[in-house]
């Protein structure tokens, strides 16, 4: 019957190692978000450029990112590029995979946000002598980022959780990877993964709350 005895002490003894893993997880998530947002801004400009090849690139990116499994995107970064002779470390593979996913989703979010900004904003900026780039940067972009702030927070949470896919490409320094290795070592499966889940939960809660505080400070209009 049920003869598994919980041994939380053993799991708790591994907490420092797991927290080290959590830091790596956050590094991947934060980097993938920062680069993802910058890429999404570039892809959004591609879309608005009216240059066919650029908008096609943006469109393809968004389509693939949103309509294929994140696992596939990470596999492509690792094994896909690997088969072309470009062998990336697990860290880089997971970073690139998640960044790709972030950029695709965020570009789509930005598209929605842009619809909420009336054309007259660009008109007003242009009529003050600003060029197209200046109008985008000073007038449209800040409003777009503000409207997209909540979706960006969601994507950040998603990015944190996606790091757990790193084990599939051999990543073993992040929270999930560390937990998996510890499990192989100690077989305290339930305790370790429950602990990892709690750490994930606490991190994402802190991120969501922190984002809310930042929003309240940043957006006073």
């Amino acid at each position: 019957m049920f003869n598994y005895t919980f041994q939380w002490k053993q799991a708790m003894a591994r907490l420092p190692q797991m927290l080290d893993g959590a830091i790596v997880t956050m590094q991947v998530a934060i980097l993938s978000m920062v680069i993802g947002i910058l890429l999404a801004i570039v892809l959004t400009m591609f879309r608005l450029s009216g240059i066919r090849i650029l908008s096609a690139v943006a469109k393809a990116w968004v389509e693939i990112a949103r309509n294929t499994p994140a696992l596939f995107q990470i596999y492509m970064a690792h094994f896909g590029l690997g088969s072309f002779g470009l062998h990336l470390s697990p860290f880089l593979s997971i970073l690139i995979g998640i960044t790709f996913n972030n950029a695709g989703y965020l570009t789509e979010n930005f598209r929605g946000a842009l619809k909420a900004i009336p054309d007259t904003q660009t008109r007003a900026a242009r009529s003050l002598g600003m060029g197209a780039a200046g109008a985008f940067r000073h007038v449209v972009l800040p409003q777009m980022l503000r409207i997209s702030f909540l979706p960006m927070t969601n994507q950040m949470v998603w990015a944190i959780l996606m790091t757990s896919l790193g084990v599939t490409v051999g990543m073993n320094t992040d929270l999930y990877g560390v937990t998996q290795d510890l499990n192989a070592l100690t077989f305290r499966t339930f305790e370790l993964f429950a602990l990892a889940a709690v750490i994930f939960y606490v991190i994402t809660k802190i991120v969501t709350l922190g984002a809310r505080l930042i929003a309240a400070r940043l957006f006073r209009y």
């Binding site: 900026a125 242009r126 003050l128 002598g129 600003m130 200046g134």
Partner: protein
């Protein structure tokens, strides 16, 4: 001087401007009146090059607006425009709204831009709203801010497109007073308006637009007192009701 010569403009099949001729000299105030869809707004957006034209030409101090070689961004510094609504940049304070273009377009230092902005905002009666976000201003205050913002670029010409028509009636007066003040200071302006009493008051000349044609133009006494064109009469009697 703004010279508009035989300007034609279509949106698809619809010809909106059917050969407009109009010259506005320095210091002159010209008001455009006319029914909805007669092409008034379109003409203003053509003057500062926001819209292309199909034929004819528009010259501002001798520079052809729609010539390929014309630097529109530079030309637009000379020609301010205020639209009917949605002029304010909601993410910037009133002060930042006004300093944005002087800083980013003219490359002015922040202190200098703020000094000019404060002066212009005080001029339109918003000296106490510098740190406020536009969302907290009334419509009338937002329009006055938009006027200050345009003036901060020291334009030589100002275009106003029905700047009071989206406002509650009790807010119209304060904006019209601001426009009147500008006119008295000698600003060259082209105004589109539905405020007939105001047009009669400030204009050197009033132009009546009808279906893409400037049916009649003349001093306000003549347009309002003794209109020549039957459509002008029809339009004026309809607005009096």
């Amino acid at each position: 001087m703004i010279e508009i010569e035989h300007v034609r403009k279509s949106f698809g099949q619809l010809e909106v401007l059917k050969g407009i001729d109009l010259t506005v000299s320095k210091g002159e105030v010209v008001t455009i009146i006319g029914g909805s869809g007669s092409g008034k707004s379109t003409l203003l957006t053509c003057i500062n090059g926001l819209e292309p034209i199909d034929s004819g030409r528009i010259l501002i101090d001798g520079t052809e607006v729609h010539a390929k070689s014309t630097d529109l961004n530079k030309l637009r510094r000379k020609v301010g425009i205020v639209f009917q609504q949605w002029n304010a940049f909601p993410h910037l304070t009133v002060l930042e709204n006004v300093t944005l273009a002087p800083r980013k377009v003219l490359g002015m230092a922040r202190a200098e831009a703020e000094e000019i902005a404060v002066r212009q905002l005080t001029h339109v009666g918003l000296g106490d709203k510098l740190k406020t976000y536009p969302g907290r201003l009334s419509g009338g205050q937002q329009q006055r801010m938009a006027i200050a913002r345009a003036l901060a670029m020291s334009p030589e010409y100002m275009l106003f497109d029905e700047v009071t028509s989206a406002l509650d009636p009790q807010l119209v007066g304060e904006v019209l007073d601001t426009l009147k003040m500008l006119a008295q200071e000698g600003m060259t302006m082209i105004l589109v308006t539905h405020e007939m009493a105001f047009a009669r008051d400030v204009s050197d000349r009033v132009a009546f637009f009808h279906q893409g044609v400037m049916a009649e133009i003349g001093p306000p006494q003549q347009i309002f007192g003794d209109p020549q064109h039957p459509e002008t009469r029809k339009f004026l009697s309809s607005t009096r009701q």
